[in-house]
């Protein structure tokens, strides 16, 4: 009995700091934000403490134009954000998969060195890495100068402030998030199965679909989620590379908080981000984790 209570004391001491800290500074703030999204915005910033579902009505369409007006632009921005995030996911996936395959077949020493080279950007400042693309894509930037020097163009191209620029920026900063999960699942792939499949006369495509794909799928899905979530709510990349032309939902949230000072509406917008994120996590948990435990 005494031993048990000693153990309880130790456990309490170990868990108390993190429990208190995350309860106060993580769970409660998120709870308050959820409440805020249902409050009436005050006239000069601030909030009125009355129930007000029109914040969501403005975004999702039931605002009747009397108290608040529904504006399709918010759904368009949400759609654009999801589209750009999805394209970022697809691009990183297509870029990383062959590279992960290539590196997994190299001798151990080279392998470790290349993995180091891919994780290194994770340690370097994100804003610096994005700034590099500002230098490249600007009107007087590196890309335009190079193309002009090669004689391919005579007038600088409009590369900045396009959806493509935003996607390039996001792909560039999120590549390690896609690469590492894919790589670790390819590493685990049993090459003798691939060999066997080929020996038995399966075409490369069939081998890929029946042998490779099922076993790397968990890594691919994890990578997709790890890239999609931060891309969806991103506001720095569209801020620097998208400008006023490519506004994403993160920019809307920022505007509501720092310029328009309509905090309840901004809170409602970020609840929408959370909703999309939770939906994805739910799909992930049900499909992947379940499939994993069934094996």
């Amino acid at each position: 009995m005494r031993a048990l209570s000693r153990e309880t004391t130790a456990l309490t001491l170990l868990l108390a700091p993190v429990t208190l800290f995350l309860a106060i500074f993580f769970l409660i703030p998120l709870g308050i934000m959820a409440v805020y999204s249902l409050l009436e915005p005050g006239l000069y910033g601030g909030v009125e403490w009355s129930f007000y579902h029109w914040n969501y009505g403005r975004i999702l369409g039931w605002a009747d134009g009397f108290i608040e007006e529904f504006d399709i632009v918010y759904l368009q921005v949400l759609g654009r954000s999801m589209g750009l995030a999805a394209l970022t996911v697809i691009s990183t996936l297509l870029i990383c998969f062959p590279v992960a395959f290539w590196i997994s077949r190299l001798p151990a020493k080279q392998k470790n060195f290349f993995i180091f080279l891919i994780t290194l950007p994770f340690f370097t400042s994100m804003i610096v890495r994005l700034y590099a693309w500002v230098l490249i894509l600007r009107d007087s930037g590196f890309a335009n100068q190079l193309l002009e020097w090669l004689g391919l163009i005579s007038e600088p191209l409009d590369l900045m402030f396009t959806g493509t620029a935003v996607i390039i920026g996001m792909v560039y900063i999120f590549i390690p998030f896609m690469f590492l999960p894919i790589y670790s699942s390819i590493e685990k792939l049993d090459m003798s199965l691939v060999q066997a499949s080929q020996d038995l006369g399966a075409s490369p495509f069939t081998t890929f679909r029946r042998i490779v794909l099922p076993s790397v799928m968990p890594g691919v899905i994890a990578g997709c989620i790890l890239v999609f979530i931060p891309s969806l709510g991103n506001f720095v990349v569209p801020d620097l590379l998208g400008g006023a032309r490519v506004v994403m939902i993160g920019n809307l949230v920022e505007q509501q908080f720092l310029y328009a000072r309509n905090w309840p509406f901004g809170a409602a917008l970020s609840m929408v981000i959370i909703a999309v994120m939770m939906l994805l996590m739910a799909v992930y948990l049900f499909r992947v984790v379940k499939a994993d435990s069934n094996r």
């Binding site: 800290f21 995350l22 703030p29 590279v99 950007p121 610096v128 700034y131 994120m277």
Partner: protein, 276 residues
């Protein structure tokens, strides 16, 4: 298609990939020595001026093309960043290590809950966490400044430390601890003499990771930094927003050097980690 051709193509593709990864960053470093004060990306000769200017030295360039009004602003931002990263790392390392020990060494009822609680802050989009904390701090009357930034950073850094230390604990032989207990050492002595030395590489690795992530955090800091405490990334964002000037290249190059140094330290500890 024959095999060796496929292999050559794949290798070529791999090199292109690394070019894509490193060429943009290399451009910053190269052009940070460009003497052209107006068009940053048009090469006009080699100069150290932008670095000299950063440290407040006399340069041959005119004042107007200099960007930082005084080096003080930049140094202030750097100092805030270092202070915040240091405090947040200490707090997060203690909390994360404790949580990892509790999860690895004890059985209790709410384990699943804690697993989720420590996982969610890492995947929460940072803008959401940033504004949630902003609403909270303003509502609770906590003034925005270094303290609020440290608190904000600890919410997600704890999870990173937890993961790194947990991985280390998972690779450890629990029998060593049992042996120590059998030989009559109490829990504290066992922890201090056996467990701590064994998990130390993990703890240091987690701390380094937190330090880097804290130094680099832009979005959460952006929302909760208040008026007179700016960190380096936030300061650089505001510089880029105002317009591109050559000094940013020099600052960015110094930051790259700094992060590579820390990453090298991390690799060093990791190699000691596996050597044991």
């Amino acid at each position: 298609m024959n095999r060796s051709l496929g292999k050559t193509l794949l290798t070529g593709y791999g090199w292109l990939f690394f070019l894509f990864l490193y060429a943009p960053v290399a451009l910053i470093v190269i052009y940070s020595f460009n003497a052209n004060p107006i068009n940053v990306m048009t090469w006009k000769g080699f100069t150290w001026d932008w670095y000299v200017g950063l440290f407040g030295g006399a340069t041959t360039v005119s004042e107007s093309s200099l960007y930082v009004d005084s080096t003080d602003q930049l140094l202030d931002a750097l100092l805030t960043s270092l202070k915040v990263a240091f405090s947040a790392t200490v707090i997060a390392t203690v909390m994360g290590t404790c949580a990892a020990l509790a999860m690895a060494r004890y059985r209790f009822r709410f384990k699943g809950f804690y697993q989720a609680l420590l996982f969610v802050p890492m995947v929460m989009p940072d803008i959401v966490l940033g504004i949630a904390l902003l609403i909270f701090f303003v509502g609770a009357g906590i003034s925005l400044g270094s303290t609020s930034i440290v608190i904000g950073h600890c919410t997600f850094l704890t999870s990173y430390v937890f993961i790194v230390v947990s991985a280390r604990l998972a690779g450890m032989n629990p029998l060593v601890e049992a042996a120590s207990a059998d030989l009559g050492a109490n829990e504290w002595v066992t922890f201090r003499r056996i467990t701590l030395p064994l998990i130390l590489p993990g703890v240091i690795g987690g701390a380094l990771l937190s330090f880097i992530i804290s130094m680099d955090d832009l979005v959460i800091t952006y929302f909760i930094s208040g008026v007179d405490s700016t960190t380096l990334p936030v300061y650089i964002l505001s510089m880029i927003r105002r317009g591109i000037k050559p000094e940013i290249n020099a600052i960015a190059t110094l930051m790259l050097l700094f992060s590579i140094a820390i990453a090298a330290a991390g690799i060093y500890f990791k190699s000691r980690n596996t050597a044991q």
